[in-house]
Each structure stands twice: as structure tokens, then as C-alpha cells.
Amino acid sequence: MLKDITFGQYFETRSPIHKADPRVKMVLLILAVVFIFLSQNILSLTLSFLFVMGVALASKVPLKMYFKNLKAILPIIILTTVINMFYGSKESAVLLSLWKLTITYDGLYRAFFMSLRIVLLIVVSSSLTYTTTPNDLTDAIESLLSPLKFIGLKNAVHTLALMMTIALRFIPTLVEEAQKIMNAQKARGADLESGNLKERIKALIPILIPLLISSVRRAYELAEAMECRCYNGGEGKTRMKQLKVSAVDFYLCGFTAVFCTGIILFNIFF
């Protein structure tokens, strides 16, 4: 049960998108999200759809995995669809009228538009998390935020990135620890599976307290180990794995540029 928790959704395949520089992927994702939202007519939305499908297929991650993510936000999609259905323009032909609520053809069109946009957003964002390890993402954030050092925030950027890396690194460790403590308390007769809400919350105390204490202990140990290795902040630190922009990144940029231009053109001329 606890073992099944995974953080991040990295899915290993040897696709060109996996090889791309995480910084480039991140920036392109932001661009893509903006332009998907800018798609105003059916033509530009179709283009967005093709772009997103292209990325998803190129990632070689099974489409099943993308559907899994969509399923998680299905309630939001349904809610948006339903609400939008009732907000069509009043001049449009009425499809259905229930009490004070009316569904127009325009409303239906809007609902479809809105939900497709959300689906595309989720798929395109998943394509980043599926193809990039959490650590690469952290490195990318650090690198992208590095201009902040010119306004005196150099250490803040590095510290933030380090905190994220450590947090990610310790998730499996803590999961394992939690499992051990749960077993130990179960062996002492703790009942974690039955009882009402209040009883269940109370039953968590014997697990949370030892877990908290051991996290603090680990934090001290890690801090000491880092000091022993002369860690003194980001100053002068080099990396074993340097982020490098390669040919794949140029193709990706080109592909996205074509998409963005397409959206602008479709929005202006149709």
C-alpha cells in the first residue's frame, strides 16, 4: 500500500523528448499552455490538438498513462462542461429548456471548447512530468531562476533548489520509515483499519510522532554530513551532470514555434 506511492510521474522510455534539456521543455510548456488558451476558433483548437497529440506520441509514453491523469481530474472537466453549457449566448438557438435553465447550441459549443482545452492542458503538462525526472526538473528551475542573482537573490535560488532536491530525495526514505513504524505499532496491537474518523485520526498519533522525530534526526544528520563535506552554499559549486542544449531542443523549439505562429495566424484570419 504505502509502497505504491510514487512521487513525480517519470516514465522511462528512450524518446527524443526524454533527451531534451529540461529547461527548454519547461519554457516550451509555458508557451504551449499560453497558446492553447489563446486558441479562439475551431481551427486553432484543432491545431492545438494536433500539436499536443504530436508531443504525446513523440514521448513514447503509452497513451494509457495520459488517460490515467485525465481520469484524476474528470470531476473538474465534467463540472466545467456542465457550467459552460448554461452560459451560451442568449441569441443562439435553444436546444433544451429546463425550468429556468436553458441549454443553447452556443453553450454546448463553449462547453466542448472549454473541456477540450483543459484536456489538452493536462496532456501537455503530463508530457513534461512523464519525460523529466524530478531531479532534472529541480535543476531546470534553479537554472531558469538564476537571473534572480542579479537582484541579490543568488543564495535564495540555490537554497530553494536544494530544498526541493532534498525533499524529493527523502520521500522514498520516509515512506519506508513510515511503513516500518506502522508495522511496529501494528505488532503492538494498534488498530489502523477500523473505527470512526476520530478514532482513526487518533490511531495515527503513534505513527506520526516517531516519524516526525526521526525526520528531525535525519535532518540533523544530513546537515552534519554536508558540513563535513565543506558545503557552504551555492558559491563555486559545480555539477557532475551539466544541462546542455542539443539538436533535439532546436527541433522541439522549431516545432513549438510553428504551432504558436499557426495559432496567431488562425486567430487573425478566421
Binding site: 516500518k180 505488532a187 503492538r188 496491537g189 494498534a190 498519533i205 503513534p206 516517531p210 526521526s214
Partner: protein, 287 residues
């Protein structure tokens, strides 16, 4: 009468994934009431997985476990009863302490079994007397104790449930020699006072030689030997084959024999070694 019977126990991790791994495969053995059993084996040989089956924390992939002739998985809803019949002290049990006082922490297990009031109080104080936790400790916070004391309190927490079988997973790991002796002492005192059956996992052949009646040897999830402790240690060759060894004194005596000194080969504890050497010396002076 057999208090514990394990029949063809198999446990497979990662059932439906490509990473199928038999942690324990086809292990069968029987433990009689009051015995002290040691489990030895290399890291990853399945010792911890095996003992977590005994109190129903893990469910066997295949095979059966009987406690007092009763299959523990006959009624899965009552598996918590099994947990009070078979106490399990995990590795580094001091990390499970959480209550405000030592007293409350020791009382956690018995309370979960439904004891309260005077009965609970008697139970906690009884166990403290047996293993020597002094009264003034009971009101202290467990987090103010030293490492060895914390472990003693954590072990008391399991013993207070008054289990018929108590299992220790490396009870002396990470302790100094004094601490090891203390813990071994506690286990012996507890057994003397309650007559419980004891199962111990340990890497220390010296500890094993000192207290166990029988040894169960595991290698890669399979049972290699299950015999009286002295018979297992007489079989040093086989132990070395699977990366284990006999106690250091035994190695010394084996070497002496190789060098041509006529000494017995069944010396497994320091006490026995002293006795044998004394006899040898007296024999020499007599000659």
C-alpha cells in the same frame, strides 16, 4: 506440544510485476513450547520476512502457519488477536516510542488488547520488575533516556502484552558490548519469569551460542538447517558455504586442533572455553 508450526511457507514480493522475488520459499519447521530458537542467515536471506509472517503482519503467498494448532489466517478479522499472542520486537525498536511517559508507552500494547485500570497497571509494573525498569523511570519521557534504556523500554512495551511467543529481530544491533549483555539478560529473565517461547534473529554467533536451544539457518529464502545449536555449529563447513561462520571461540579451538593440540571441538561459548582450558592445564600439570 508444538506451539508454532510453519508449513511450506512461501512469500513472493512484487506479485504481478517483472520483479518477482521469492523472499521465503517453502520453509517448514516446528517450535515446541518454551524453546529458544535462533534464526541466522545472510543479509537478505529472508529472516525478517519470515518472522513478520508469524504474527500476521505479512500474509503468506503460499503455506500455512499454526499457533497452538490453530491456523492464524482461518479468520482474517481476528488477526489482531494473533498479534497479542505473538509479540514482535522489530530492529531498532526505540524508534517506535511515542508516548509522553515511559509508563504510557509500555501500557500502549496491553491497552490495545483491551486491558484497563488495575489490571493494566499490574501488567506494566510486573514487566518493569522482571526486566529491571526502575519506578522513577516510569514518569520520565522516553525521549530523555539513553539509547540502551530506550531499547529496554521499547522491548518492555512488547513484553507487556504477555505474548506466548516473542520474536526479536536483531535485538542487540548497534549496541556496545555492555548493552548487548543487558538485552540478552532481559530476554533470559523474561523467559525464566513467563516460560514464553523465544525466537531471535541475530548476526552474532556468540549471542546465539549463549542462549539458543536450536538454530534455524536460512539462505536465499530457503531453510538450510534446523537443528540443536551445537549440531549446527559443529557443521562449520556448511555455515561457511553460505557466508556465515561459527563463534570466534570455536574458530580458535578448530585452529588449535589443526595445530595438533588435542582439544574438544564442541566449544561454542567463552564459559565453556575457560572450563576446557582449565581442565587441559590441570591435566598437563598432572602429567
Amino acid at each position: 506440544m508444538a506451539i508454532l508450526e510453519v508449513q511450506n511457507l512461501t512469500h513472493t514480493y512484487g506479485g504481478n510485476t517483472p520483479f518477482i522475488n521469492d523472499a521465503v520459499s517453502n520453509v517448514s519447521f516446528t517450535v515446541e513450547q518454551g524453546e529458544i530458537i535462533g534464526i541466522i542467515g545472510h543479509t537478505g536471506s529472508g529472516k525478517s520476512t519470515l518472522v513478520q509472517h508469524l504474527n500476521g503482519l505479512l500474509k503468506p503467498t503460499d503455506g500455512k502457519i499454526f499457533i497452538e494448532q490453530k491456523n492464524i489466517w482461518d479468520n482474517p478479522k481476528e488477526i489482531r488477536l494473533v498479534r497479542s499472542a505473538v509479540g514482535l520486537v522489530f530492529q531498532y525498536p526505540e524508534y517506535q516510542l511515542f508516548e509522553e511517559t515511559v509508563y504510557d508507552d509500555i501500557a500502549f500494547g496491553p491497552k490495545n488488547m483491551g486491558l484497563e485500570g488495575e489490571e493494566l497497571d499490574t501488567r506494566v509494573r510486573e514487566i518493569c520488575k522482571i526486566i529491571g525498569v526502575r519506578d522513577e523511570y516510569l514518569t520520565k519521557s522516553p525521549f530523555d533516556l539513553s539509547g540502551g534504556e530506550k531499547r529496554r523500554v521499547a522491548i518492555a512495551g512488547v513484553m507487556a502484552m504477555n505474548p506466548k511467543i516473542i520474536v526479536f529481530d536483531e535485538p542487540t544491533a548497534g549496541l556496545d558490548p555492555r548493552g548487548r549483555e543487558d538485552i540478552i539478560g532481559i530476554i533470559e529473565q523474561y523467559r525464566k519469569a513467563t516460560g514464553a517461547t523465544v525466537i531471535i534473529i541475530s548476526h552474532s554467533m556468540e549471542d546465539m551460542a549463549q542462549i539458543t536451544d536450536k538454530l534455524l539457518v536460512l539462505s536465499r529464502g530457503e531453510l538450510v538447517m534446523f537443528d540443536k545449536t551445537e549440531n549446527v555449529f559443529k557443521n562449520g563447513e556448511k555455515l561457511r558455504e553460505i557466508g556465515l561462520n561459527v563463534p570466534i571461540v570455536t574458530r580458535v579451538f578448530n585452529k588449535l586442533k589443526e595445530l595438533g593440540v588435542d582439544v574438544p571441538q564442541d566449544v561454542f561459548t567463552v564459559e565453556r572455553a575457560v572450563e576446557v582450558l582449565k581442565n587441559l592445564k590441570e591435566g598437563d600439570s598432572n602429567a
